[in-house]
Amino acid sequence: MAAPAARRAISVELNGEQVELEVPARRLLVHFIRDDLGLTGTHVGCDTGNCGACTVRLNGEPVKSCMLLAVQADGATIATVEGLAADGELTPLQRAFNEHHALQCGYCTPGMLMSATALLERNPSPSEEDVRYALQGNICRCTGYVNIVEAVMAAGEGR
């Protein structure tokens, strides 16, 4: 049996731009995004895939990028927090986070925004329970989630 490949060339569409790079086969997607592509908005908060700080959208689905290898994203569309605000124009959700004080240290915020953006696309007017359910994979240690839930609901109702 041939030795497994140690490196592979991958091609991804990241925040609307085509990226082609050769990566170590064992490189995590989160490290590919942060270290190889220099997009440091996606964060690492744990080593067991529990905290959600690394949440990005893979073909539209929120995923934990620390639990995927970069090679698994070959041919996929990836969206990270840096792709939300077009030309520095914040999305209604980002503005709601600011208005409702939904962040303190800001470390969980990119992950929260990616999960919540996905939620609002599939459920534009979520209930509080819907929001909490959608965000249960994103841990925050600063806010107690109160204002985060409020912000997502406010963005959902178009406030």
Partner: protein, 816 residues
Amino acid sequence: MTVVEETTTLKKGFVGQSIPRKEDKRLVQGLGTFFDDVRRHGMGYVHFVRSPYAHAKIVSIDVSKALELDGVYGTITGDEVAIQTDPFFEMSVEPGGNIKDYALAVGRVRHMGEPVAAVCAATRELARDAADLIEVEYDPLAVLVDAEDSLRDEVVLHDDAGSNVVWSGVFDWGDVDTALAEADHVVKIERLHFHRFSSTPLECAGALVEYDKGTGEWTLHCNHQMPGVGAIWMAPALRVGIDKLRFVTQDIGGGFGNKICLHPQYVVLCLMARKLGRPVQWTEWRTDQHTANAHGNERTFLDVEVGVMADGTMTGFKVRALDDCGAFPRYEPLGCIIWAQVTPGMYGWRNIRVDFTQVCTNKSPVSPNRGYSRMQHLWLTERIVDIVAAELGFDPVELRKKNYVKVEQMPYETPNGCVYDSGDYAAALDIALDLVDYGSIDERRKDAEARGKLLGFGIGSTLDSGTNNFGQSTLLNPELQFSGNNEAASVKLDIFGEVVVTLGTVPQGQGHETTAAQVVADIIGCSPEQVNVRRGHDTWFNSHAGFSGTYASQFAFTGLGAVKGAAELLRAEMVQLAAAVLQAPEEAIELADGMARVKDGPEEAALPFMALGAIVNANNAFLPPDFNPTLNHRYVCRPYFGMVDTEKKTGQLTLTYATQIHAAVVEVDPETGEVEIVDYAAVDDCGVRINPQIVEGQVHGATAHAIGAALSEHFVYDEEGTLLTSNFYDYHVPHAMDMPPLKTGAMESPSPVAPLGAKGMGEGGGGGIHCLCAAIQDALSSAGKPLVTTSCNPPHRVWAMLQDPEATRRVEVMSK
């Protein structure tokens, strides 16, 4: 939902408004700069080799195979550290003061996860590969995981100390023996235990360290939240002057005290950067943070005796406190003293004796954690009140109101000379009771019973003491040369009218850029948008002092006090300059809306700030020789404390006391022991609130931390010293679905001693832990009256209490 009562009548400009935060713009776009975002050309990644044993001799370390791996830049072991550095300075007196604590284990490991060696390689993955190739041979030793075992000194962790005791002392105020003899009832509680947990900030610790060979200086791009103290530890160990260490922090993903004791790892990085001649970077793994960074105080309270009169007046208590600081004391000896800031808790008893001992065990070192040492003591006082109430048949609300320090008594001097500056505890309690509809509790209890649930109601009253007097350290060790406190800030007006502020504090989410801008804007007459507060702390800003950092609930006092002082100096100069240019008396000059103008003067008699800045910086020839404005001012806020009496162990250990009263309604499932919080209120009084939304956010966060600690978060060790809850799978922290409906209330009792009337807040005092313990005990009171004697009550513990309530009832009541 927020209910606000009794707000201050101070004039409010931007201060007092919930203006949205300036920090948010970059953070919501993922454009913050956390230390792991910083890159340097040629940098290497560091991975630590850590002990799998809780206690063992290191027989040998062989790094040769690691060094053969392509892409590995180098290694370092404890032997090198012992040659190149001196042990870290120890705070305690003997025996703890004799401990030798190095940046890596030297000859012996004393807790699971203790760093033994470090390797640096070209990529993160290679560093881990190389670490696996480092061979360490251990000779296991007997393990101590229990503080009471440790006290026996049968196995001694630090030969240099000769004992596991770090420090011990008796605090004795009033006359507790007489108070107990004269009391109508004495309630004896055999044992209460406050468990190990921590705030587990989402961003782990770490640093990217560069060494400049030409100047012998290190730059640490890091997230150390108290760089002043970090440098005091590191510089002597590295045998250099403090000016050789430059700390640069930018955005930090939470600290909560858990980023104060990073000096051992940072020294390793400094040595490696120097040895390898390249920048080196280390990011702590989540597992490492849980096993080997910082746990909060674990404290056992033994032989509590409380004196109570027939009418419910509690006259005093005595207790033996046994503090478990883990393998190395480090910052922790201060924990032996700091609880004394809140000796009587919220209550008026005057006779208190605490016999305090701190010991080492083979567990993770303890360091400050949100609520640091005061939270543990306040939990004790709240447990005492609830157990006394339960055993003597008093209503817990009435017993509290009877014994609370009264608003008329403020400022109130405690038995050990601390002064509670302001607060109305009974009023805050009433707000909490109202928020959870206390009047309907009996009805709700019946309704829950019909559904097969046990409903309970509990109160947790607590204080968040802020602005430490570091002179309290002399109660620990009279030789220590620390006293007072300080914080620095600089404010300048630049060439094109920019207002620029640098802080000595190290924010990790508390919104310092925003609140500092609010204060400056009000003082010099512009808007917060026009004030640029530089992010983070940088030694080279020269805007810091020895105690700089963000910790101990003091920013609103010392940090904003420094900002206020600097802004006032700047304002005075701006007025003076404007008066000279506009040829008007200083009293006639007003600063508002970014302009300096003559009051009621013509439109031409006005200068934009830009003009002032330009004159001083670029166009100053016409100014008279004796007038030399700089428009650039640094100010050090130095709070004033009385002296500390080391013999009586009295003194002003801290300056401000914020109040938090928490109330919870829980429903317990008797079949599973699961606790559901069905109603919850937290009321906060931190004096003047600079930005109410920012205050409320931290009340939410402190509540979440407390709920997590009370119901699930626990650093559990087995008998071999293995940490069983070393990651987020096993150590469950609350997520969005775990949080109860949370109501908040606020009061403002301005502080008479703080520069802006604002007390520090943020730690919260663990109110949630106290009230959930009370609520659980109340819920179970109809099922055999078990007593809650530990601070963490997950389902299996609650279930056990229901199965065998008698086992928990180690309480004795002696009545006249």
